[in-house]
Each structure stands twice: as C-alpha cells, then as structure tokens.
Amino acid sequence: MEQGNVLSYFNLFKLVLSRDLKIALRHRDDVLNPLLFFIIIITLFPLGIGPEPQTLAKIAPGIIWVSALLATLLSLDRMFKSDYQDGALEQLLLSPYPSFIWVLAKVIAHWILTGIPLIITAPVLAGMLNLPTESFLATFWTLLLGTPVLSFIGAIGAALTVGLKKGGVLLSLIILPLYIPVLIFATSAIDAASYGLPYGGQLAIIGALLVGALTLTPFAITSALKVSTN
C-alpha cells in the first residue's frame, strides 16, 4: 500500500516555490500593485513636506523604509488568501511532510515577488529624495536583509487573518508593532552611512533578526494556519 517516490524536502520546497511563482507571474498585477503603491507613497512625501533637498535628504531613509513596510503589508494578504479560498491550503496542510518546508517556500516566493522589486526600484526613488550617494549601498543592504524579515513576520499575521473576511486592518494592527526593530536599525544604518560612519553593526542586527525570523516564524505560521482552517 505504499506509493511511488516520496519527495525529498528540497524537491518539495522547489515544487511549492515554482508553483507559487508560476501562479503569480500568470497574472502580473499581483507583482505590480505593491510596487506601484511603494512608488506612489514615496512621491506623496515630498508633496506633503516640501521639495527642499536638505529636508528630504534628512528624512529619506525613514520615508523609504516606512513605504517598504506598508507595501509589504499590503501584499501580505495575497500570500495565503487564494489558497485558502480554493482549498489548496487544506491539501498542503494534509501533505505528508513537515509544514515548515512548504511554509518556508511560500514565504520566500512572496518575498521574491514583493521584496526584490522594492530593492530594485529603491535606488531610483532614493535619488528622487535626494538621498546622499554614500547611503545608496546602505539602503540596498538594509532592504536586502530587512524585507525578508517583513515577509516572515507578516506571514504570521496573514496566516492568522486568512479566514477572516475583513482581516486587513487587523493584520496591520497585529504586525506593525513587530516591524519596529527592523525599521529602527535599518533607518539608522542608512543615516550612519550618510555621515560616512560604519553601519556594519546595524546590518548585523538586521541579519540576526532575519535568521531569527527564518528559523522561528514558520512554526508560528503553521499553528496559525491550523487555527484558521480549523
């Protein structure tokens, strides 16, 4: 009564990752919407605060990172919602593998679809905000290490609110307080870079947050998914 080849963990990871990427690329808007949202928000700040380059340069790190936070938050809902609505989430939960693997695959797929576009467009917007050129590299590094943390922590909230009809506001109330450490260390790293100071320490802390999120949040995400599909 046993069956054919049971997938190795890495094959399962690849299978779920490629499926998610294929689905997302089949309809582009899922990728473009958070990106356009990120760009629009950043263009709002100068309109609100005024175009003086000095003030913009001073608050550019905060604007970039708060916009990245909100763009990720907006796209979190998509991570489990469609699988929940068509029953694919139940089949994944009932697959004979530890759910850590496919949860990891889904979150990384989400990061590839939302995190990487942010990292690519950030330099252009930083330029618009007159960010000093020394901080461009720092912005890149903080976004590269920080956006996965946003996806992992955000996935817990997404998993908890996937079953709720109006879960969007609740998702931000639960998750935004948990984003504060990443925001603080990322913006201070970019600030330090603009004065030419070393920012390795801040990056190390964001890296630590990333490794912590990478190893711990899938367990929370799994139990959250079990609650939502109860």
Binding site: L160, L170, S188, N230
Partner: protein, 247 residues
C-alpha cells in the same frame, strides 16, 4: 509532578474557586489602595527637585510595571494553553488582555502628565513612554484578534499565538527603542528616572503597588468567570448553575 494542579484544569472547579477568591482580593486591594494612596498623597515627603508633582510616581510606576507583568502572565497562560491544550488558558488570555491594556493606558497618560511640568510638552519620545505605547498596541492586537473570530475556540488559539509572538518581540522592541532613543536623544532632556528613594517614599510605593496588584487580581477573576461561562455555555454544569441562580 503538578498533581495538585490537575483538578483546576476542569472549568467548573476553577469557576467556583475564582468565585470564592474575589471577595478576598477585593477587600485586600481596597484597603491597601486607600492606605497606600492616603499615605502617598498626604504623608510621603515631596521630592526636593520635582516637588509635589513627584506624587504621580505612586500611580505611574505601579501601572507601568503591572502592564508589563500582566503581558508576561498572559503569555505564560498562552504558552500553557498551547503546550497542554488547556481550554482555560484561552479564557485567561481573554480575561487578562483588557486589564493589561487599561493599565498601559494609565501608565501612558500619567507618564505624559508627569512629564509636562518637567519637559514642557505633553508627549516626549522618551524610551520608556514609547515602549509603553508599543505595548499598548500589542495589547490592542490581542484584544482585536480575540474578538475577530466568531468561534471562541479559534479566537482563543489565535490570541495565544499573537500573545506568544508578542512576548518574544517585546524585549527586542524595548531595547531597539531604548537604543534608538539614546541615538537621537540630546543629553539635555533628563530621563523620567526614579530619583533616589528615601525610605519614607519607598514604603507607600510598596503598599500602593500591592493594592494595584490585588486590584488586577480581583478584576481578572471577575473577567475570568465571564470568559469561562461564555466558553462553556453548552455544558450541563453551566445550565444547572443558571437554573439555580434563576430561582
């Protein structure tokens, strides 16, 4: 090992236990609070630097430390619930969250009101006040998710997960806010520190603290009873209880 705790895992015995214990906590907290506040407001010496505005300290510091303590208690209840599948822990989390939120709000408000005469503005991004504000958001998150689900069982489990995720992140948030505060903080603004505590100030503080602590215990037990009833409303013991009380 925890044999003596086992009977209390059954909701009925815990319900009656908290029923019996409420009057004791109530009277204890009432008397301690009256003694403590009268002592603090009337007899304790004023601070040589801050004068009588220092008396807010007897309300602000107990509220702040209790708000942290309640969150910790809530997280421990959530952990027990997850590890031993206890139904009562969901009720405990649901009972504790609003009490903690109220104490955090009190700590925030009194902190701001205490800071105004010293710093001239109502809100100062002081490390402790900011962490207290984030703690309030964490509480509101737990309360919101508790009311978001119709099914009480799911709501309880979801709230426990968020309480646990919150308690893991709390120290990280606290230290990053403190680190952020020292980064942007000019040396001029004096921190909301506790000045050297003479004995005449220390004892009223202890009495006030105990008074507030027992107050938390009383209100939590009342809310705990409500949550147990709501979660077991289809069980026979609740129905008989209702019929008895209806007579």
């Amino acid at each position: 090992m925890w044999k003596w705790l086992h009977p209390y895992a059954n909701p009925e015995t815990t319900y009656h236990l908290s029923d019996r214990v409420i009057p004791w906590f109530g009277w204890l907290s009432g008397s301690l609070l009256t003694i403590g506040l009268v002592w603090a407001l009337l007899f304790a010496p004023a601070d040589y630097q801050q004068g009588d505005s220092f008396r807010i300290f007897y309300l602000h510091v107990p509220a702040a430390s209790l708000s942290m303590g309640i969150y910790l208690g809530m997280a421990i209840a959530a952990l027990c619930g997850m590890v031993w599948q206890l139904k009562l822990s969901d009720a405990a989390v649901a009972a504790l969250a609003p009490v903690g939120a109220v104490f955090t709000a009190i700590a925030l408000f009194t902190g701001a009101a205490w800071g105004k005469p010293m710093w001239g503005t109502w809100w100062v991004w002081d490390a402790r006040l900011t962490s207290e504000l984030v703690l309030l958001f964490l509480y509101l998150g737990v309360i919101a998710i508790n009311n978001a689900f119709e099914d009480k069982q799911m709501a309880g489990k979801a709230a426990s997960i968020i309480a646990l995720v919150g308690v893991i992140n709390l120290p990280i948030i606290k230290y990053s806010v403190e680190w952020w505060n020292t980064l942007h903080q000019g040396a001029t603004v004096s921190k909301l520190g506790k000045p050297a505590m003479s004995l005449e100030m220390f004892w009223p503080f202890v009495v006030c603290f105990l008074g507030f602590a027992f107050f938390v215990a009383t209100v939590t037990c009342i809310r705990f009873k409500t949550e147990i009833l709501l979660r077991n409303s289809s069980r026979p013991w609740v129905k008989n209880l209702m019929l008895e009380q209806a007579k």
